[in-house]
Symmetry: C2
Subunit: 254 residues, 2 copies
């Protein structure tokens, strides 16, 4: 298939690099920032533009990998009737694409994308949706070219999945930041926590997290909890997080 | 050194197994539950008892690996004057051991211990403290026999470290449980989140977590946040956690 990539951020970059290794052809990169469009086009060895009306009309599929909040506006200015249009967002319904094409859908890769981190998409689950059987087949085939884990998922389920992912990824990362901040007050480095973080992760790879819960809240050790809360008095925000999560663990423990 | 292990839970078991591979000798296991003392003694090929007054008095070091809340009581009933007594707890001060010996200290391994999980203690940091220089030397040598990462740390710093560890381990594990609960309502399995959890961990092994923060809160995408909060209306507890952590991330993001 011939592909036009709309976007030049982390997701567009990772998808582009992945398609470069397949038999699909990337015709062009669009970004409203010329410099970014050009930079990614060099990596992907294709054309680039920063004008919506100069987007190549010969592609089979147009993949939108823009920030959630600019897609609605982009779709009002863009037309690709007769071609398949997909977005890659977790939290936007498929139908947001309707103004620009009659054949549209979603291809959402469940992963955290960062600049300068090489990522093997093969093991990244991709969740697809299409507004017709034909479109769905095209999008599933598109996703299967870069990932071994492709699943059907409607817009409502995808929003739930994204909410779960925010807990598992964004929030746990923030807890690591908080842990590092507390350690600093003790003259210790975040480094010291790495074996513990690795083991926490290794455990849930093979076990149900609820069965693996340890710590003062899970054994209802209120004496220790009080000591920790007292120690967090200079971090009122972290203290509230500590209290709320400890209460939640206590309530979920036998 | 000749060691008596006081306790038969996860920490006692892991320490015992680690010392079995060293030149130190485990003389005996004590547990107030005879069955547990015996079970661990079989693994460690040593004697066992469930009577405090039958604890072998010939050891050089007595390692208390009991639950935090029973140690104070144990120490009132036990005497090992002239011998080194250590506890392995994060949140108890060293001085809690004073009633039982004049030479005492702490050997706290920073790790999450679960039954039936083999653990290599060599890379687990152990934090030591002693009430005199001589005792500190003994305890450091004891810890160094099983771990390559041994650090001095006083009781106050240790409590801070433990608070940080609760965020990094206990709380992130609870977030994984919550993510799994939300997924279930969508008919999806926790399995699907594993590549994301692994990548989140891999990222903080090589980067500062604050620099790696992604997601709706970090980009102040209030539309998506509102959708997630709306979706969590049937989970009031999880909704509060979502709100509090999102606020905290927003406040910490540029």
């Amino acid at each position: 298939m011939k592909i036009v990539l709309i976007g030049s951020g982390n997701v567009a970059t990772q998808l582009g690099k992945a398609y470069l290794k397949t038999e699909n052809e990337i015709l062009q990169v669009y970004s409203n920032t010329l410099k970014n469009a050009e930079a990614l086009s060099i990596i992907l060895k294709c054309n680039f533009t920063n004008y919506i009306n100069k987007i190549n009309s010969e592609a089979d599929v147009y993949i939108i990998a823009l920030r959630d909040d600019v897609i609605e506006d982009f779709v009002k200015k863009f037309q690709c009737k007769g071609r398949v249009l997909v977005h890659t967002c977790a939290s936007l319904p498929m139908d947001i694409l309707k103004p620009a094409s009659d054949d549209y859908g979603v291809m959402y890769p469940l992963q955290t994308f960062s600049k300068n981190r090489e990522l093997n998409l093969k093991k990244v689950p991709i969740f697809t949706e299409g507004n017709s059987l034909e479109t769905k087949i095209v999008i599933t085939s598109l996703a299967s070219a870069i990932s071994d884990e492709v699943y059907d998922l409607n817009s409502e389920q995808r929003l739930k999945l994204h909410t779960a992912a925010v807990f598992a990824n964004n929030f746990s990362n923030h807890l690591y930041k908080i842990a590092g901040d507390i350690l600093k007050t003790s003259g210790l480095d975040f480094e010291i926590l790495k074996p513990l973080i690795q083991e926490t992760t290794d455990k849930v790879m093979k076990n149900n997290p609820a069965d693996m819960q340890t710590g003062p809240a899970s054994r209802k050790d209120d004496k220790t909890i009080q000591k920790h809360i007292e120690l967090l008095k200079d971090f009122p925000e972290y203290k509230r997080i500590y209290e709320l999560l400890s209460e939640s663990i206590e309530r979920n423990s036998k």
